[in-house]
């Protein structure tokens, strides 16, 4: 929570969104319920969930493209839900947005697309050119200035989207599945650009995605959305290394590949289990990642340690690893080993082999 020492840029207070049911008699559909979120200035905040979890509705509540049924939306100190239409339009100029399908105007050039928000704000033509060209430079599209969107690749289109969103010099950038239509390599370059913009412009960025990889590569903090509720939130490193909710674990498993195929695990472990053994997953974070633990287990507890699977990764520059091991020895020694590991700051999880 150290990020919250600065004033929050975005505060969502008890947001709910209900849609009328499919027919007159049916109950209303609760898309979001009781959402509380605080996002600090300059932070990159991720919201992840499966499709239908309410992510799109939630991000649209931040600039009131969707008006919440209840609750407050406070951006840069102003309650957007209390503004008049004209005030809301002015407030939206401080909130840029990029989209999964880019939403560029097909009949405008790259330059004219980026110029659009400035035209809407009534900025004189000469000043528009002076502001658009540096933006095209920033996103690396100066050479494509006079092309039309249909002549660009997906990654280039999203760069135009980003430049357009930045044109009105917003304080907040909302990214609605901004990389979901892009291939992995293009995704990486767009994420790098977003990180660069965040650093350079001290821009607050809110990202919604169904890809844990995006959260891992880009975000400082994350909230996990499931059936319209936030089930878990915190610093990305903590959520990734110590997830508490099943939904989070499922999402993380895709990125942190500590899953061994079940059949393989069974085949490897089964013969040993009868002889008194158990499969344990060890999680290493930070400094614990490089201590010689396996030999300690053998020496101090007389256990046979068989490493089945292991991997190491880095989240926000901090190393994070997991090992799947088979411990063989008597029950007391195994218990002792687990307690000892716990004291060493290694999180352990006993894996049931079917």
């Amino acid at each position: 929570m150290e990020n919250l020492q600065t004033a929050p840029m975005i505060a969502l207070n008890a947001i709910a969104k209900r849609y009328p049911g499919p027919s007159r008699d049916s109950a209303a559909v609760e898309a979001l319920s009781n959402i509380d979120l605080t996002i600090a200035e300059g932070e990159i905040f991720g919201i992840i969930g499966k499709s239908g979890a309410g992510k799109s509705t939630l991000i649209r509540c931040i600039n009131l493209l969707e008006r919440p049924s209840a609750g407050q939306v406070i951006v840069a100190g102003r309650d957007l839900t209390a503004l008049s239409d004209a005030e809301l339009r002015a407030a939206r100029r401080e909130i840029g947005m990029i989209f999964q399908h880019f939403n560029l105007l097909a009949n405008r050039t790259v330059f004219a697309n980026v110029a659009l928000p400035l035209e809407l704000a009534g900025i004189p033509r000469a000043e528009i050119a002076a502001r658009v060209d540096p933006l095209l430079e920033l996103v690396g599209l100066a050479a494509q200035r006079d092309r039309y969107p249909s002549q660009l690749s997906g990654g280039q289109k999203q760069r135009v989207g980003i430049a357009r969103a930045l044109a009105s010099r917003p304080k907040v950038l909302l990214c609605d599945e901004a990389t979901s239509a892009l291939d992995p390599e293009t995704t990486r370059s767009i994420l790098a650009l977003l990180r660069d913009i965040n650093q350079r412009l001290k821009l607050t960025i809110v990202v919604i995605t169904h890809e844990m990889q995006v959260i891992k590569d880009l975000c400082d903090r994350v909230a996990v959305l499931d059936h319209g509720r936030i089930v878990e939130s915190g610093r990305v490193f903590e959520v990734f290394t110590a997830p508490t909710q099943p939904m989070t674990k499922t999402l993380i498993a895709d990125v942190i590949g500590h899953e061994l195929p079940e059949g393989l695990l069974e085949r490897l472990a089964q013969p040993h289990l009868q002889k008194g053994g158990q499969v344990v997953r060890l999680f290493f974070t930070g400094a614990s990642a490089d201590a010689p633990l396996m030999s300690a287990l053998t020496r101090q507890f007389g256990l046979d340690v068989n490493i089945l699977h292991g991997q190491i990764d880095e989240i926000q520059g901090e190393p994070f690893g997991s090992l799947l091991v088979l411990l063989e020895g008597d029950v007391a020694n195994r218990q002792g080993a687990l307690t000892w590991l716990d004291q060493q700051g290694i999180r352990t999880e006993v894996v049931n082999v079917a």
């Binding site: 909130i95 097909a106 009949n107 928000p117 249909s150 357009r164």
Partner: protein, 217 residues
């Protein structure tokens, strides 16, 4: 074909051109705003007015479902009010325009509906007013489609204008009926049909070319 007949053919062509040009111009001027109104007041659109939209749609449908030949006769008092006469080329322009306005309205509405809702959402996120969404997003993005609609309207008007003979409007269709059919001059009929084919082809090609030039999709 005699020089007299050729000159008659030329005059008739000019009459058709005047009828189609004038009524097409009027239908464009009124039909485009009508189409915009039909599109943006639809439920869920930027200026949703469902009741108004429903009534407007009913009026448009009523005019569109009236056969042209009946419409032409039915609105004679209105035509006289506007042009001072109920016969002649000018008098034919009024019913032609009246028939074409709702037609253009529907075609324009269709073209506007083709605009991706994501673009409207993006414009709203930028703080655009409904008017700005219309002028900066909806119309420019659907311009190729609108032009296709106008081309269809012009070609239809060329066909409708053949019936203008019923109110003494003249034109190619009238020439074909009076000389080609009633006086049994097949060569006149042949020429009339040929000129109409070339004319329609020309209008269609110009429309297609312009629409393609403006489309960067």
């Amino acid at each position: 074909m005699s020089p007299e007949l050729l000159s008659l053919l030329w005059d008739s062509f000019i009459e058709t051109l005047v009828m189609v040009g004038l009524s097409g111009g009027i239908a464009t001027l009124i039909g485009i705003p009508l189409g915009l109104l039909l599109a943006v007041t639809a439920p869920g659109h930027i200026l949703a007015r469902p009741a108004f939209n429903k009534i407007l749609g009913l009026v448009v449908n009523a005019v569109r479902s009236t056969p042209f030949i009946i419409l032409m006769v039915a609105i004679i008092p209105f035509t006289r009010l506007i042009t001072g006469t109920s016969i002649g080329t000018a008098a034919a322009v009024v019913p032609l325009a009246i028939a074409a306005i709702p037609f253009v309205g529907r075609l324009v509405e269709g073209a506007l509906r083709e605009v991706d809702g994501g673009l409207i959402e993006a414009a709203q996120a930028m703080g655009a007013t409904p008017m700005q969404i219309i002028t900066k997003v909806l119309v420019p993005e659907s311009l190729p489609g609108i032009l296709n609609g106008l081309t269809i309207m012009l070609v239809s008007l060329i066909g409708f204008s053949a019936m203008a003979g019923a109110v003494g409007g003249g034109g190619l269709g009238d020439l074909g009926i009076r000389y080609g059919y009633q006086r049994f001059m097949p060569e006149v009929m042949g020429m009339v049909v040929l000129v109409l084919i070339v004319f329609v082809q020309l209008v269609q090609s110009c429309g297609d070319w312009l629409s393609r030039r403006l489309n960067h999709r």
